[in-house]
Assembly symmetry: C2
Homo-oligomer: 217 residues x 2
């Protein structure tokens, strides 16, 4: 689709642009300059222009960007104009939290099924989906044209389940298990390591020690 | 503590080093060269050396790095040798998932309390913590020396709650609400936007269209 190879660093920033432009649009803003967008998003205007130039620049800078147009274009680049069918593997709290998050559906990510190896969860209903045993997964993926699997299972089970998903011709895995999945090149993986961001927070707390407290009693 | 200003990009990579080194250590590996570490982690050896040079380099390259020493040092840099007291605000599925994730405690992140504005959840027990009303939060923070608040509440409530937390002299907010919190400079914030990574996955799926399927029936 896009001919030029765009760096993953640029791609990583697109959802944030999309989010801010969506809010501007909802607030009735029609045009915005790269300078105002940079102030709002706390990145440099030159970064914004460089990022956008990867996609042709999105219109004349002199007049600012057309917010709605830019929001749509970035959404299309992100593939949000297309529908994706997802399954969740792991019906614990995290799996349930993701299943219940309405905004994903709004962006075209449709949850079709949820699976768990724990028999006690089978039959439980989560947002209209009945938790199914793992054995049902391969046929379900085929019948429901599932392209994304969300892994919310412990690290110990994740690699074996991912291998199974590869056999099922899944196209992408959104992985919350605490292990980096490395899969064949045609399968896309996003590893989400929640504790990584908590550790970064911990570093920054220690880095910025508070002033001696004046308000101690 | 650290005199030189280290870029947040470097800091963002430290938890991943910490994770890989922990696994090597658990597997009994005593030393590893930057080259072998680079193959394992799929980053360049020069990136690793550059990152480590920010902290003095961590020992002689010729012999490789001492895995246990390096793991400990990076853990200390991340502040994992210290205990942090946390509260969770929002006792829904995501808040419960985080409360139940044992690995955080192992790293010194101790969950002390959980709060929600929903009366129906008050009194419910989550991993030994009783869900409390929001009104109890300020005194609880003070009495339990809470330094980190985890926000697992909708976007609409997040900004007001964050302001309240600032008044309570919280030191850091780990924010899962779908809005970038910008707070006074002495308060550390990590915004975790789950849908951003899902959108990146969506981009990459579209970017790498599958080969024409040979296995269609």
């Amino acid at each position: 689709m896009v001919e030029k190879e765009i760096s993953q660093a640029v791609i990583s920033r697109l959802p944030r642009y999309f989010r801010y432009l969506g809010e501007l649009k909802d607030n009735g803003v029609e045009r915005i300059s790269s300078k105002d967008l940079s102030l709002l998003m706390k990145v440099t205007a030159s970064q914004i222009r460089q990022d956008f130039n990867n996609f042709g620049g999105f219109g004349q800078q002199g007049y600012g960007y057309n917010v709605e147009y830019l929001h749509n274009e970035i959404g299309n680049i992100l593939g949000l104009d297309q529908k994706h069918h997802l399954i969740i593997i792991g019906a614990g709290n995290l799996g349930q939290a993701i299943a219940n998050y309405m905004n994903f559906e709004r962006r075209g990510f449709i949850f079709k099924g949820i699976f768990d190896s724990n028999k006690e969860l089978h039959g439980k209903e989560i947002r209209g989906m009945v938790v199914q045993p793992m054995e049902e997964m391969p046929s379900f993926i085929k019948e429901n044209e599932i392209d994304i699997a969300v892994l919310t299972i412990p690290k110990s089970a994740a690699v074996a389940v991912a291998d199974k998903l590869v056999q099922c011709n899944i196209r992408a895995i959104w992985n919350f298990a605490h292990v980096d999945l490395t899969l064949p090149g045609n399968i896309q993986v996003e590893n989400v390591h929640l504790s990584d961001s908590l550790m970064k927070l911990s570093y920054n707390i220690n880095r910025f020690e508070p002033e001696p407290a004046d308000n101690l009693e």
